[in-house]
């Protein structure tokens, strides 16, 4: 594995390096550097497909970059915490109606008991999502650990997707869905 110093010398973001390693492992990844519209560097990774055959895209970024960017925007200063946190976000792109949110939030809370990795949430703006944060002592995470996180998140998402689908389509009452969840 390369060193952080070597990456800094080359002016490379660790996210760009992870993207390179993923590509070598035939995991499609696209590094998106910060610009006028995107405040922080991001890495978009295709991590298999959902149960309907649609691509699962996981967004990866450094949480401390987000905090730093917001601090700059509000002209505040922050003291960096020790270590580094890599944030993973898997969004279901389906637009939600406000009326659907309470049931989806209830379902998310119950599924968070069972979630093997990450936690579920539901928001008007982004739809329902699965997120995870990985703490490390530096910004240079072990790529094979990141691959495990990606696989864990996409597997977890697919496993619980039918319950979200049933809730969104109102094919069953929330109580009926929760009873099924209780049998897992």
């Amino acid at each position: 594995m390369v060193s952080l110093k070597a990456l800094e010398k080359e002016g490379l973001s660790p996210l760009a390096y992870f993207g390179y390693v993923f590509d070598q492992a035939e995991i499609e990844a696209s590094f998106v550097p910060a610009d006028g519209t995107i405040p922080v560097d991001q890495l978009l990774v295709r991590s298999g497909q959902d149960i309907h055959g649609d691509d699962l895209i996981i967004k990866i970024l450094f949480a401390e970059d987000v905090a730093q960017s917001l601090a700059q925007k509000t002209k505040q200063t922050i003291t960096p915490a020790p270590g580094s946190t890599l944030q993973f976000l898997l969004l279901n792109p389906l637009k939600l109606e406000r009326s659907q949110i309470p049931d989806l939030q209830h379902l998310s809370g119950v599924l968070n008991r069972l979630s093997l990795l990450g936690y579920f949430g539901a928001h008007v703006q982004d739809g329902w999502s699965l997120s995870y944060q990985l703490m490390g002592h530096t910004r240079l995470f072990e790529p094979s650990l990141l691959v495990r996180v990606l696989n864990g998140l996409s597997g977890n998402y697919r496993y619980f997707q039918p319950y979200f689908d049933a809730c969104l389509k109102q094919a069953k009452s929330l109580d009926a869905i929760l009873q099924e969840v209780a049998q897992i």
Binding site: G83, H106, S108, R113, Q125, R148
Partner: protein, 190 residues
């Protein structure tokens, strides 16, 4: 405070000596697997009002230790160190839906892990730390614990206020929450 690999549960106990009262116990009554019990610590039942008679209990355990004790196959390169912190109150069934709504928002403000309610109605915080070759950075672990207990203190009594009916959902959602070094609304924090 960087450790030689692999980190043992005894090493974790040593790291926690930096500021945490803890003990080692059997995990799930299985003598082959050990866990660390953190605390009990006093519960912050209102801002700066800590009640030692209402304990907050933390647990730390390696998933591979549990799997190994149960004779399951495991990948020695990859493990999970799970932190679980249980709060000292129960949420009545009729209030759980509102609690889940609030947790959905608040979990976006929590940098690591999330809160939920277990099947017995107890609120708990959980973070599953994915680690490589069982190499635990002591400083990173202490940072995880520091963040987790910070949010248990700042959010626990708010969850309880809603669960007990002391505060309504609307009141709680409209409260200003000062948790972050910069102003950040729930949607952007995600």
């Amino acid at each position: 405070m960087e450790l030689q690999t692999p980190t043992t549960i005894e090493d974790i106990k040593g790291i926690l000596n930096y500021g945490y009262y803890q003990s080692r116990q059997e995990a799930f009554g299985d003598s082959k697997a050990q866990q660390i019990i953190i605390g009990p610590a006093a519960y912050m039942q209102a801002p700066d009002d800590y009640n030692p008679e209402r304990p907050v209990v933390g647990q730390l355990l390696f998933h591979n230790d549990i799997a190994s004790a149960q004779g399951q196959e495991l990948d020695p390169d990859l493990d999970t160190l799970e932190l679980l912190i249980t709060l000292p109150f129960e949420v009545p069934e009729k209030k759980q839906r509102e609690l889940f709504q609030v947790m959905n928002i608040f979990n976006n403000l929590v940098p690591l892990g999330a809160f939920t309610i277990n099947t017995q109605g107890r609120v708990y915080y959980r973070y599953k730390w994915q680690i490589y070759q069982r190499e635990v950075s002591g400083l990173a672990l202490l940072e995880i614990l520091s963040q987790a207990y910070f949010f248990v203190d700042r959010l626990g009594y708010k969850f309880e206020a809603l669960a007990s009916g002391k505060q309504s959902l609307i009141e709680l959602m409209n409260e200003k929450i000062e948790l972050l070094p910069v102003s950040l609304d729930a949607e952007t924090a995600k």
